[in-house]
């Protein structure tokens, strides 16, 4: 809260030098997805925080495109760990991998899928919400199973790039 008392506590030259380096540091972060970064060495701590539009700064990574629009949560893009692409729950509800009990699952691990293809259903109050692939790819992992309760944006399935 108290402003750094430069005049009192800082060696002006040094400050100028450090300032330069700090600017470089900041430039390196431009365009990157880093929002908050901190290093500690012994008694010294350095912390870098980059502003974002207010609403967004608290927002988690966005849902993949879905049967339901997810646009308005305007969050920053999220990294695709080891190149896999997450398919997430469009709302809170019950997960089903098949159109109805007993029917074959929409997809199996290893299946190649087209953009727009239905991969699963999340049911909320009798409403069947289709979960569709927002890109073509190959099913690499299915994390949910029939009857699971899922949260909004919970990862249900991972796609990997098709060969």
């Amino acid at each position: 809260m108290p402003e750094p008392k430069k005049s009192e506590s800082a060696n002006q030259e040094l400050v100028r030098a450090v300032w330069e380096e700090a600017r470089d540091l900041i430039k390196r972060l431009e365009g990157s997805t880093v929002q908050r970064f901190s290093v500690e060495a012994g008694d010294t701590k350095i912390e870098i925080e980059r502003g974002m539009p207010a609403g967004a700064s608290m927002v988690a990574a966005p849902a993949a495109a879905m049967a339901m629009p997810a646009a308005e949560d305007g969050a920053a893009g999220e990294p695709e760990l080891d190149g896999r692409h997450p398919i997430k729950a469009p709302l809170v509800g019950t997960y089903y991998g098949a159109p109805q009990p007993g029917a074959p699952q929409f997809v199996q691990v290893g299946d190649s899928v087209e953009e727009g293809q239905t991969l699963a259903i999340v049911e909320a109050m009798k409403l069947m919400n289709q979960v569709q692939a927002d890109r073509a790819g190959k099913i690499s992992e299915i994390l949910a199973s029939d009857g699971d309760w899922v949260e909004f944006e919970q990862v249900l399935i991972y796609l990997e790039a098709a060969e």
Binding site: M58, D73, L91, V92, A124, M125
Partner: protein
């Protein structure tokens, strides 16, 4: 008592409810949009479910997601807070269908009292005083003419489905009636999908006075005194206090008993508020009933020593009211609440939200802060701009004002782009007319034009 209560709200009221649950030994479940993932209630509640994106239409107003969260966590009751779905009979009904106790009145009762015209009929039948005017909708211009003539001008035409100051027009002269009657109906149709309007006498100036009550399911009702909420800007309350210095004990008992009678007469259960206008001659007129807990409930808590949220949860669980009318009267001391918003009073109260780099709430004797904020929290543009409710108690009104000034003077809030209404509250509390207590609903408007005039004069 309930096992687990889901809180279908956000911000300070969600935290307020979670605190009450904790004190009652009841588990709490927070629901949150992605914008609220770091919110205080998410950290504090026993469980939390992410229900949707920031847009309320897909999160806090999205019934399937909220019900889903309740079923997912096995909550046996749901507290709606205020705003959002708190007065939606359809939502209350769905909760019932899903076997979740909605903490509030029964859906049919909520619907009745929610309809202004119906509420006016029921309450006038129960003996509550109304302004001269119709309780029935006015369906033709001729009718409007006759009624307005009887009442005497000025009159006000109000949309039955209206509220919060929208869908009403004041008619000062008979020749304006036809035009305003038509436009009000048209607006009502457009805005509320219901063109029904009613007409009543218009009070040029009055005080906003409301009675807090709670009814249990055994037919017991208690009123918790009144609140004066006359310090409003465009129908947005800025400062509330309890008790009103303009009601004496007899009037308080009279209107309080009538309010409880009215509520019980429609089978009301839970916490509710009856809004009245108090004219300068001391006459009260029933305006409408709010079937929810209100933002300003803490001032009533502090002068009655009753935790209204706990009471609300108790009666919803089928328990008897924990207090009788005699326990809460006479009212104890005086309480004042200031609503601190992230708005810029110098720019017509434009939202001034952002990240709170500094947030140091006041403390010390009889100083209560109901807030979801902490250092680093971001006031999101997606939701209302309330930062904190600052409430103080003192043995009398003068000392309560002094205490509020002290508390405001130590409240530290800052962040890039963040402005608050604290300076505005300080100036209002400094105003001799506020100190005198002679405040009507047009006070803030007068106050602001005074300030504008002074500013112009100054330079």
């Amino acid at each position: 008592m309930f096992e687990k209560v889901l809180i279908a709200n956000r911000g300070e009221i969600a935290l307020r409810v979670a605190r009450a649950c904790r004190e009652l030994g009841v588990q709490s479940v927070a629901v949150y949009s992605t914008a609220d993932a770091e919110s205080a209630v998410v950290r504090f509640a026993d469980e939390a479910v992410q229900i949707g994106p920031p847009a309320v239409g897909r999160s806090y107003l999205h019934i399937p997601s909220i019900i889903g969260a309740a079923l997912k966590t096995g909550a046996d009751a749901l507290h709606p807070g205020y705003g959002f779905l708190s007065e939606d009979p359809y939502f209350a009904e769905i909760c019932a269908d899903e076997g979740i106790t909605f903490i509030g009145p029964k859906p049919d009762v909520m619907e009745k009292v929610g309809d202004k015209a119906t509420a006016r009929q029921l309450m006038s039948a129960a003996g509550l005083p109304l302004l001269p005017g119709t309780v029935e909708p006015v369906n033709t211009l001729d009718e409007a003419h006759d009624i307005s003539g009887e009442i005497g001008y000025p009159v006000i035409i109000k949309a039955v489905a209206g509220g919060g100051g929208r869908g009403m027009s004041v008619v000062h002269r008979e020749e304006d009636l036809a035009n305003l009657y038509q436009t009000t109906r048209a607006t009502a149709q457009a805005v509320f999908k219901d063109s029904a309007v009613y007409i009543e006498r218009y009070l040029e100036t009055s005080r906003h006075t409301e009675i807090q009550l709670v009814c249990d399911s055994e037919g017991n009702g208690v009123y918790f005194g009144e609140r004066d909420c006359s310090v409003q800007r465009r129908h947005q309350k800025l400062i509330e206090e309890a008790p009103s210095i303009h009601l004496n004990d007899d009037t308080r008992r009279e209107v309080g008993e009538a309010a409880v009678r009215g509520a019980l007469s429609v089978g009301y259960t839970g916490a509710g508020t009856m809004e009245f206008l108090l004219d300068l001659d001391g006459n009260l007129s029933f305006m409408e009933m709010n079937a929810r807990i209100q933002v300003e409930h803490p001032v009533s808590e502090l002068v009655t020593s009753v935790d209204l949220i706990q009471e609300q949860i108790r009666v919803a669980a089928g328990e008897k009211l924990s207090v009788t009318q005699d326990d809460v009267l006479p009212l104890h001391g005086h309480a004042i609440e200031c609503r601190i918003n992230a708005e810029d009073p110098d720019r017509d109260f434009a939202p001034a939200a952002g990240k709170l780099d500094v947030y140091v709430p006041p403390g010390g004797p009889w100083t209560r802060v109901d807030s979801h904020c902490y250092p680093g929290w971001t006031i999101s543009p997606f939701y209302d701009s309330l930062i904190a409710k600052l409430i103080v108690w003192a043995p009398d009104r003068d000392r309560a004002i002094d205490r509020m000034q002290r508390a405001l003077s130590e409240f530290q809030i800052s962040g890039r782009g963040v402005k608050t209404t604290i300076p505005f509250h300080q100036r209002i509390l400094d105003h001799p007319q506020f100190r005198s207590g002679d405040v009507t609903t047009d006070f803030v408007e007068q106050f602001m034009s005074e300030e504008a005039a002074a500013a112009t004069a100054a330079g």
